[in-house]
Symmetry: C2
Subunit: 451 residues, 2 copies
């Protein structure tokens, strides 16, 4: 997206003063991309460190969380503990936690030794939240108000303390014991007379999540209500922190990537493709391939069982790929759509009957057209005769009908029993449909052909 | 998520007064879900209209855009033009445009007749933006400031006009001719002394998009910079409107759904699954199925060509499903990951060599392990002998190696020439790999087996 030619030429001519000037005018996200690029090429890695060191401390703290973990690891390897500490101090709390999770244990100790007690306690609490929980996503830099203060007081508080807060557009109203009792937006504060009381303008029916809720549920809540921020409470509804919508965006991206992985029969992993080792990539893929290989052996067994039919009609053999592929493809269509529709909330267990009926009708139309096409090909081009053509027609229709209905239902059932529905897509449905289509094929052949 | 039992019982006992009270305390998103539920069941449809009519006008305007298009169509069928007009007047401009796009033409005319000139002109401009462009996503309800006014003036303006604006957290600074010259956040306004000038605190290097840019590019910009709002300008950089982050979220969801559809070999469509007719679903799926069927016929042709080998070694036949399935599955893994990595920006054309090398190495490891597993099965369980076992080993290795490398590269090439990379996933790669694996199989058999 960005063109870094000027930056590269300044780097080459070692004109660091002008480089620093250029960097000052850039967005953190763009600087991060430039440093990532430098880090990828072995001979530019020292330059990445130079560029990073040219940044002001606060700018460095903004760029750092936007780097890839690969770039961060490289930088951490180059720069000393004291410099790390300086960056650390400038980071926001949630970025601090992420930062510490990437550091080697002794560096963590070294850095935490210099934090004050309150911060150390906070950080430790965060490090204890489970990785995919709401607690691990939240920030503690937000504004709390009291119900009996006025709008004017609230605006004054925001004016004084707002600069350091990550979230100021939504303010949370707390009662005794930090219990969350209401929420008020900065929009309301700046458009309401200053002598009104907060408790009279706040929304009391606050939507919140618990710190141990799964991050996917959190993303769903954001999607549903279109909030910009969502409070996190403990079991006694005391306010612990706030999650912002951009974190929800990240979660949605990660969960979608996970769906893609699972659908392709790859163990989901959060580490990036380019930085994963060949062995870990191979391992993530082998498990399912072997499972499917064993399933595939059973499919081969079906053919073995009917070798006596093939021995008489060898031509039936060359139609097998066409029949199993069509069934598999029809099944992939149905499962993939079901997986996606489940994940965007379009269908649920309640609609299973509706889905089955719909897929049956679609399968009927698609199956008849595909069956006729294949039948005509077999009779006209291959000259296989009407009887074999009829076998092909009914196998195609039966295989597609079955693939559509089973493919549409299985992800819903998987979801119902708590499995990730994506597990049931693509590869598994193909293998299943392959086997059943072959059984249909040979049984219809046995019925129709003179043997 | 929500439990509507109470609402249902109030509906049944026709206690509309208490139902109205309940509705008053609910979020618009939840009311919309309830009305959607009612609209799904034929005998509850009149109730959906009753519930909708119990809402205050402004609440109805908030609920309406959250309904499914199915529910909206049902309501529009029940309620008269005058009532439609009332709802219309309460809607925000971008929702008005969406609303009009769903109405029959004569109703549109009827409603627009009563809008004032300025609004009619705006709406017509919106209706002319291309469906997937930045222009079609934007709102015109935002706040503009002048560079020479003070922070205090700006806050006053927001206090007076902010209530009706969709966006108030980001304000746009315009110069002569509405040219966009800067941006300032409400955060800065409420945390800066009131006598400062806007031009001294505004950010001048504004990131913007053009009204004709594709919505996918817009979503990428949001993802990159984590903005809450993004200004839209014309070719002379005059400010036309603003896109909010929740619209970007919608776009990301729609684009991902499109990827899922295309990967499964289904023509992408934006209408919802449950509301699409069986015929339109069948049509969207048939095109690719027929293309793949024809491709599958060629795969069958490969078998035909080597019938003379099969005639001597009939046992080779029963290993075909296992071999083609393994190649296909390995290919699906590589393409799906490549498609996803392209869409999240992890890889691009620049990294194609790196991807090819990585996939080759992964394919080598996976292929050898899969090959050995299949070979042992064939020799020990099927008693097929060492020679046939060797044929199986090399076919498995060759097929997987090829599937991995080709599967990893093809989406990148498709992306490079401007095709949607998802087109090259799942079904197509499977068919391609099937054919090539069979050729490898028979050629290795010809080399190794005594014929």
């Amino acid at each position: 997206m960005e063109n870094f030619d000027l930056l590269y030429s300044l780097l080459e001519s070692k004109d660091y003063r002008n480089l620093q000037k250029e960097l000052k005018d850039m967005y953190a996200a763009d600087i991060a991309e430039f440093i990532n690029e430098l880090n990828y090429e072995e001979n530019f890695k020292p330059d990445a460190v130079i560029v990073f060191r040219l940044l002001e401390k606060d700018e460095a703290a903004e760029v750092f969380p936007s780097l890839t973990s690969h770039s961060r690891a490289n930088l951490i390897g180059f720069i000393g503990n004291d410099e790390l500490k300086e960056i650390f101090e400038e980071l926001k709390l949630d970025d601090k936690v992420d930062f510490l999770e990437e550091l080697p244990a002794n560096a963590v100790k070294n850095i935490l030794r210099h934090s004050d007690n309150k911060e150390r306690e906070l950080i430790n609490r965060f490090l204890n939240y489970k990785e995919e929980s709401a607690g691990s996503l939240m920030t503690v830099e937000f504004i709390t108000l009291r119900g009996d203060s006025t709008v004017g007081d609230a605006l004054l508080k925001i004016r004084e303390t707002g600069i350091d807060k990550e979230i100021i557009y939504t303010c949370y109203v707390i009662g005794p014991n930090r219990k969350l009792i209401g929420v008020v937006s900065l929009r309301d504060l700046v458009t309401t007379p200053k002598d009104m009381l907060i408790k009279d303008i706040m929304v009391e029916d606050v939507v919140f999540v618990h710190s141990d809720m799964d991050r996917e549920v959190v993303a769903d809540v954001f999607d549903r209500y279109e909030f910009m921020a969502l409070p996190v409470v403990d079991s006694e509804e005391r306010l612990l922190g706030v999650i912002t919508v951009d974190d929800a965006l990240d979660v949605i991206e990660k969960e979608t990537t996970e769906d893609f992985h699972i659908m392709a029969g790859v163990n989901p992993s959060e580490s990036s493709y380019l930085q994963s080792s060949v062995f870990s990539l191979a391992k993530d893929r082998l498990i399912w391939l072997v499972v499917l290989l064993i399933a595939g052996m059973f499919v081969g067994g079906v053919i073995d069982n009917y070798q006596w039919i093939l021995a008489q009609y060898l031509i039936l053999n060359s139609f097998i790929p066409m029949l199993t592929a069509a069934g598999g493809n029809a099944g992939i269509q149905a499962t993939t759509l079901a997986v996606r529709n489940l994940s965007i909330g379009e269908i649920s267990f309640k609609e299973m009957g509706q889905v089955a009926l719909k897929e049956f009708k679609v399968g009927l139309i698609v199956g008849i057209i595909m069956g006729l096409t294949a039948m005509l090909k077999v009779i006209i081009i291959d000259g296989a005769g009407l009887l074999i053509g009829t076998v092909i027609f009914f196998t195609m229709l039966g295989g597609i009908l079955l693939a559509k209905v089973v493919g549409g239902i299985i992800p819903i059932l998987a979801d119902k029993v708590g499995l990730d529905p994506a597990v049931m897509a693509s590869s598994i449905i193909t293998t299943l449909v392959d086997g059943v289509t072959l059984m249909i094929y040979f049984n219809i052949a046995r019925l129709i052909l003179p043997l």
